[in-house]
């Protein structure tokens, strides 16, 4: 299992692995939004948590199809199914690898982008606190979606269509948590919901993803 994680990280960070792709996309979205809505600092500060969350979600979505598609094409998935490792463990490890190369760096640079958007000082802590587990659940849910569509030719658009509705609870609680201090609300309640969703997704979705992979490999 650990060797699978190491291998995935190694592939992602080598040339053509596309590790920085999601990050660059995130940066683009956050830069484009002020160009679209105008430079008023008041407005930007108010919508900053929402922009950062939607940007993180889109960046995550963009890189989802890489989780299984490449392994499906070159026969690695077939060989992994035959190997003496549980397939749900493979799905879990691969979603964690995806999080480590997209969600985690994204969370780490989010304060920097918060500065660009005039995010008030009290917002930073909860922004990062919500993005950290939130992006993990985005990766796990996304890996489930990727497992569903792995056999489909040109499944990228279908993947977005399947995954976006599943992202609603995470997005709502995450953005709520990140912006609640600015709206004079308690950030703890949405944060707990976010943690519950993340843990639930970690516990059950790898199994569902494994079932989907098996059906797709048939």
């Amino acid at each position: 299992m650990i060797s699978l994680l190491i291998r995935d990280l190694r592939i992602a960070t080598r040339a053509g692995g596309g590790a920085g792709l999601g990050l660059a996309f995130f940066l683009m979205v956050v830069i484009l939004v002020p160009l679209g809505v105008g430079p008023e600092t008041q407005l930007l500060a108010r919508i900053a948590p929402g922009i950062l969350w939607v940007g993180a979600l889109l960046a995550c979505l963009l890189t989802l199809d890489r989780i299984f598609a490449l392994d499906f094409e070159d026969g690695t998935l077939d060989a992994l199914v035959c190997a003496p490792v549980p397939l749900s463990g493979v799905v879990l490890v691969k979603s964690i690898a995806h999080w480590l190369v997209t969600g985690l760096p994204l969370t780490l640079i989010s304060p920097l982008l918060g500065v660009l958007l005039n995010l008030p000082a009290e917002g930073y802590l909860w922004l990062m606190a919500s993005l950290l587990p939130g992006t993990l659940s985005l990766s796990v849910i996304g890996a489930f979606g990727a497992a569903l569509t792995v056999g489909v030719r040109r499944g990228g658009l279908l993947l977005s269509l399947l995954v976006l509705p599943l992202y609603v609870p995470t997005l709502v609680f995450g953005a709520e948590c990140a912006s609640s201090l600015m709206n004079f609300k308690d950030p703890l309640a949405p944060f707990i919901f976010l943690i519950v969703i993340t843990l639930g997704a970690l516990a059950f979705l790898p199994m569902a993803g494994a079932a989907a992979l098996r059906a797709n490999l048939r």
Partner: protein
């Protein structure tokens, strides 16, 4: 479904028994009633014209798809090598092999010996540090086959392993299969050429459904499973 680790039966380690197996490809039954036995130390060549279901049979035995009917029993682990090599282009030859060895539970102690053995068997010694994407098609295939050696599996299920191999490499492959069998393993190989292995041959007959379209699925069949075969459930005559 088969239980690959079921040791309660009388099969020796490395043995495989297939009974009355029926498989489908895309909802259409392609093989019906296949039965054979594979003993340790034996290689069996699967032969038959294109489309007869060699790949389907191998995939079913490897557990990649469920059989429609029949049973597959085996004692030991199975390793599958299909048309794709399961090799990552950006990783080096030895990184690829090391990964598969650890996935198959080869411990840190034995890993370098296992790798050396596999690399030697398929003559990859000069290529170990090269990224796999810079290999030629034949070299990639050799790497894909070397992967089998590091899995430590007793049963090999190989689909067209000699594609894009030159004559020397085919000899290497034959030697590897021989060594595998000598060590008590067994192999099931779908191929069109003669790889020069002393092996039994299993000829698959084309599956014909002519005439039994209107038969009730349970009519006269020796197994009493009532479940119709795949899409056959939609073929029974009725008020459609």
């Amino acid at each position: 479904m088969s239980n690959p680790n079921d040791t309660s039966n009388d099969l020796p380690r490395g043995g495989l028994r297939v009974e009355n197996l029926t498989c489908t490809r895309g909802g259409v039954p392609v093989l019906r009633g296949v039965s054979f036995k594979l003993s340790p130390g034996v290689a069996v060549l699967l032969r038959g014209p294109n489309g007869v279901g060699k790949t389907t049979l191998l995939r079913t035995i490897a557990g990649l798809q469920p059989p429609l009917r029949g049973s597959i029993e085996m004692n030991g682990a199975i390793a599958w090598a299909g048309h794709a090599d399961a090799i990552k282009g950006t990783l080096s030859v030895s990184e690829n092999l090391r990964f598969w060895a650890s996935v198959h539970g080869v411990g840190r102690r034995g890993i370098s010996a296992t790798l050396d053995h596999a690399i030697e068997s398929f003559y990859l010694g000069d290529l170990t540090t090269r990224p796999a994407q810079s290999l030629s098609a034949g070299q990639k295939r050799r790497l894909g086959l070397a992967r089998l050696c590091v899995t430590g599996a007793e049963i090999w299920a190989l689909d067209e392993p000699t594609v894009s191999l030159d004559a020397d490499s085919v000899t290497l492959f034959a030697d590897a299969v021989r060594a595998h069998c000598a060590a008590g393993g067994s192999a099931l190989i779908a191929t069109h050429i003669d790889p020069g292995i002393e092996a039994a041959t299993l000829d698959l007959q084309p599956y014909s459904t002519r005439g039994d379209l209107n038969d009730a699925p349970s009519g006269g069949d020796e197994d009493d499973d009532e479940t119709p075969l795949g899409d056959d459930v939609f073929l029974s005559e009725g008020s459609l």
